[in-house]
């Protein structure tokens, strides 16, 4: 089968066309169509996995067509294990978000139909951004995908949604513009060296002098750091997470923000190895600050959604730490972390979303004693929380452990600081669990209804995956290791060998 990836990108768009044909009033049919389209996409992504060769180094399922030949721009897609797992994360989470947030689309400023159109367009772009192997194509999707997210936050969110959406958009676009300058820069360098290309493989073979590398690296890195988000570029995130619907937050933090950390590996590391080594210690510092800052602020949050947002800042710190440790354990740990963080954030946002919807308030202080009223919902939230604090036996433990081992050999002091993040994580999760789930049943909570079958169906696969990958990470971790070794050889670094005592 040819063009697997293109078909994968197009399937959600076919869903959009199908939605366009369904009558506006028939909300149920609209939702079913959207779910069907996302499930079809999921099936196609399994076909992609089936055709993927784990041992092969480099991009697979590649397609390349001329797009704007005046600038040597191609529509070029291809995947390695890192991008394929992220695509899989996308195709799994989108139907779950649809099923979990069945009524999310109904009280927005626009119609439910628009909600699903935006979501499916976003899915196409999320797949496309991970599949792109042409830097220009990546950039175009990277920027264009902000528009549907903007309308999803501002059109369907809560509270100060319009302002939060605008802040998110301006931050991201600003980062994107810096990246545009760097994208143009590297293209001109390739032209001057006689190649003239946007192909990421070709670009990684260029020889670029150190000072130019540094500038271009920063152009890419700041864009990704805003996206990821890394302290001090994170300020847009809590507002956006607080205002967006549970489903939008899930996709925003679970997948979209991964474009930042994914971009660091794919572009910062492989295109500018020299600059990466120069900046690594600084970035490690920022990562550790993010870990501690996110964790400490998470403890103090009163709003459950902003608490989850701050935990994510801490987790993105771990991912960045793993990437810039430049060891194979660190990078594979970070790539695996991205997947786990996707699922565990999804579990947190979705369960928190249900709680907020039922209670009508997102203040942690208003909750209490949920365990007795809504046991299934409470347990789901609890497991999601445990996954966020990386409890052994859940998949996030594996990745966090790998990241810490991988970075300890290079940056022992930073790693020790980062490890305290784990303690803080236990604190912020267990405090919320204690306040929200246990204790007296607070007034207003008595009549809460537990999860229905639809909601159980939505959350079950996420929890199952968290547990399964916790005990048996190999099916995901092994291919990631292969991809990581390719990245390592591209940057030209090897793992430090433990010094034997003489």
């Amino acid at each position: 089968m040819k063009n697997i990836l293109t078909v994968l990108e197009l399937l959600p768009l076919f869903g959009v066309i199908a939605l366009w044909l369904t009558p506006k009033e028939n909300t149920k049919l609209i939702k079913q169509t959207a779910v069907a389209a996302s499930l079809l996409t999921l099936v196609e992504s399994f076909i992609a996995v089936w055709n993927f060769d784990i041992k092969f180094k480099g991009f697979q399922l590649v397609e390349s067509y001329n797009w704007i030949s005046a600038f040597h721009i191609k529509y070029a897609v291809g995947v390695d294990a890192i991008s394929l797992t992220l695509i899989l994360l996308t195709t799994i989470l989108v139907p779950i978000v649809f099923i979990a947030g069945w009524h999310e689309s109904e009280d927005g400023r626009f119609s439910p139909k628009t909600f699903y159109v935006l979501m499916l367009v976003l899915e196409t772009m999320m797949i496309g951004v991970f599949a792109a192997t042409d830097v220009f194509l990546f950039y175009v999707i990277f920027e264009a995908m902000l528009i549907p997210v903007y309308f999803l936050i501002a059109g369907y969110g809560r509270g100060e949604r319009a302002a939060a959406a605008l802040k998110f958009l301006l931050y991201s676009l600003f980062g994107g513009l810096l990246m545009l300058a760097a994208v143009i820069g590297i293209y001109i360098i390739s032209t001057n060296q006689g190649v003239g290309t946007f192909d990421v493989n070709e670009l990684s073979k260029l020889t670029i002098d150190q000072s130019t590398q540094n500038w271009l690296f920063l152009g890419f890195f700041i864009a990704f750091a805003i996206k990821a988000p890394l302290w001090p570029f994170h300020t847009w995130l809590p507002g956006a997470a607080k205002s967006a619907t549970a489903g939008t937050s899930t996709l925003l933090l679970g997948i979209l923000d991964k474009v930042g950390t994914y971009g660091m590996i794919r572009f910062c590391l492989t295109l500018f190895p020299g600059a990466t080594k120069t900046f690594a210690p600084w970035i490690i510092t920022l990562a550790v600050i993010s870990i501690l800052y996110g964790a400490i602020l998470a403890i103090g949050q009163k709003d459950i959604n902003s608490m989850i947002a701050f935990t994510s800042i801490s987790h993105f710190g771990f991912i960045t730490l793993g990437i810039f440790a430049l060891t194979s354990q660190g990078i594979s740990g970070a790539t695996f972390y991205m997947i786990n963080h996707g699922f565990s954030t999804a579990a947190l946002f979705l369960t928190a979303g249900w709680i907020v919807k039922r209670r009508g308030s997102s203040q942690i202080a208003d909750l209490g004693g949920l365990q007795r009223v809504v046991p299934v919902l409470a347990w789901s939230f609890f497991i999601a929380g445990l996954s966020a604090l990386a409890l052994p036996g859940l998949s996030s433990f594996v990745s966090e452990f790998l990241v810490l081992i991988g970075s300890f050999s290079q940056y022992p002091v930073a790693t020790i600081f980062a490890t305290t993040g784990i303690v803080l994580a236990a604190l912020y999760v267990l405090l919320v669990v204690q306040r929200a789930l246990h204790g007296e049943v607070k007034s207003g909570n008595e009549s809460m209804v537990d999860l229905n079958l639809r909601e159980k169906l939505a959350i079950a696969p996420v929890i199952a995956l968290l547990v399964f990958l916790g005990f048996y990470p190999k099916p995901v971790l092994h291919p990631l290791n292969v991809a990581t070794s390719t990245v390592m050889s591209q940057i030209g670094v090897t793992d430090p060998i433990a010094k034997a005592d003489k």
Binding site: A70, F71, E143, I147, L170, A181
Partner: protein, 504 residues
């Protein structure tokens, strides 16, 4: 023996068709009854523009410097700019066809009984069509003219009708007339500057043709102070027409006061024509003294971008906002001028298209949002437009996103190609300024989008009129071009690779 100068009529035909149609339009005004005039004029104008367009396509592969005794150069870039101007003018004419925007009788004093009676009689000011055609002819001549006299004549031919047309608004006539007067006075000044510069260049090189001036630079016997003064004053005249800072002060007032269809036409076409001429003058005439003028024009480009973007943020009036936005875009195009390369020229030409159609589309939508006293240009009253009329709001937002340079719109490709050309020529600092200004500019474009879709609707009197078929076609063309060139810009760039050249 005196021999008549040789004219190559086939190559000059596009301009002659437009001029002929304009004269025909004058005759129509004189001899045809009022009832028929308006339709006939629309028909003549549109057919003339289409015919000129077809003729240009037919001669597209011919090049000549002697089509009119060396006064014009028919070359790839010249033909391309003319095609762009005609395409933009076509859309502009579709708006102008809605004569409801123009005063019933321009000579009547605002508020007088004479005005009231002519409104009651249902008269229409159909002279606007021949005036538009004269302006188009001037715009077509301006970027292909190769000597300073022809350049000046073209400049006046395109400007004079525009001064008049700015004053023809049906509503808020005093504002409109003030705008026209201001435009005329400042325009006259800038023409004087242009002539002054031309005189100095003649004094320097002993020639009025661009090639002659370029040769004069080589022979280098002359006093180069004359050359510098000439370049500076000539540039002032041109920069005034494109609305670059510090010669921009007419732009917001004229854009606001002029009838909106005229504003759209003027903003899109004048910019293409004036920049076309500017590109030719700098690429052909002043190429060898680039180290003298590049720093100045670079500085003006930066000031223009930054000032336009910052001033636009505080505007309350949609037409003024678009005016400052056009100033910012003038700055971006100046970056392409400074790039001084084939890619820079191609980028500028693409930018004319992406900017031009988005501008025409945006002004077209401004004509639709009205209350009983005419167009509503107060941005606050646009708040919540998305709820009332989602389609119109979406189209307007699309144009804003294209202005802002969001990927998958033509505006993004325009910006990308300008920045690429500039980077390639080594002007990396201009790219950095351009990128930072884009971020500032995005702020006000997105604020408008935000207000339209998410603001509370405040005015109950606001209505979105059902557009006439011609206006609907015009806006649709703009939407399609903006999306199509955003997704598949090769449609234009493939042809630009052969056409983006000037004859020397």
């Amino acid at each position: 023996m005196l021999s008549a100068p040789h004219l190559n009529y086939a190559l000059l035909a596009p301009i002659l068709i437009i001029l002929g149609a304009a004269l025909l339009g004058v005759l129509v005004e004189a001899f045809i009854s009022k009832a028929l005039r308006s339709r006939l004029q629309i028909g003549i104008s549109l057919i003339a523009v289409i015919a000129a367009f077809i003729q240009l396509i037919r001669v597209r592969n011919l090049t000549s410097t002697s089509a009119a005794v060396g006064s014009v150069a028919i070359d790839g870039a010249g033909i391309y700019i003319q095609l762009i101007i005609l395409a933009l003018a076509f859309v502009g004419l579709l708006y102008i066809a809605d004569t409801d925007n123009f005063t019933a009788q321009a000579s009547a004093i605002p508020g007088s009984t004479e005005e009231a009676s002519s409104i009651a009689a249902g008269s229409q000011q159909t002279e606007v069509f021949p005036l538009t055609l004269f302006a188009i002819a001037g715009m077509m001549l301006f970027p292909i003219a190769t000597d300073l006299i022809t350049l000046f004549v073209a400049l006046e031919v395109l400007s004079l009708p525009l001064y008049l047309m700015s004053g023809l608004s049906r509503r808020r006539r005093l504002l409109s007339q003030e705008a026209a007067l201001k435009y005329f006075l400042l325009g006259a000044f800038s023409s004087a500057f242009f002539l002054f510069g031309a005189a100095f260049l003649y004094g320097y090189s002993g020639s009025l043709s661009l090639n002659g001036i370029a040769d004069g630079v080589h022979s280098s016997g002359a006093n180069s102070v004359f050359l510098l003064i000439g370049i500076i004053f000539l540039s002032v005249g041109l920069l005034f027409k494109v609305g670059a800072v510090p010669f921009h002060s007419w732009t917001p007032d004229v854009y606001q006061g002029a009838p909106t269809p005229i504003t759209g036409f003027m903003a899109a076409c004048t910019k293409a024509a004036a920049f076309g001429a500017m590109l030719r003058i700098f690429y052909v005439g002043f190429n060898d003294v680039q180290w003298d003028w590049k720093p100045i024009i670079s500085a003006i480009a930066v000031i223009t971008m930054v000032f336009g973007a910052i001033a636009a943020i505080v505007q309350r009036d949609v037409k003024r906002t678009l005016a400052f936005s056009s100033i910012t875009h003038a700055g971006f195009i100046l970056i392409a001028v400074v790039a001084l390369s084939k890619n820079g020229l191609a980028a500028a030409l693409f930018y004319f298209i992406s900017y031009g159609f988005a501008t025409l589309g945006a002004f077209g939508i401004v004509t639709l949002v009205r209350d009983s006293s005419g167009e509503i240009t107060d941005l606050n009253r646009w708040s919540g437009l998305g709820k009332r009329s989602p389609l119109v709001a979406s189209a307007f937002s699309l144009f804003m996103l294209s202005f802002g340079g969001i990927p998958l719109t033509a505006g993004f490709i325009g910006k990308f190609s300008v920045f690429t050309a500039s980077y390639e020529s080594g002007n990396i600092n201009l790219v950095v300024f351009g990128v930072l200004t884009s971020a500032v500019a995005l702020f006000f474009y997105l604020k408008i989008v935000l207000m339209i879709f998410f603001g509370e609707s405040r005015s109950d009197t606001l209505t979105v009129v059902i557009p006439s078929i011609l206006t609907r076609v015009a806006i649709s063309i703009c939407v399609i071009v903006t999306i199509l060139l955003g997704v598949y810009p090769s449609l234009i760039f493939n042809s630009l690779q052969t056409f983006a050249t000037f004859l020397h």
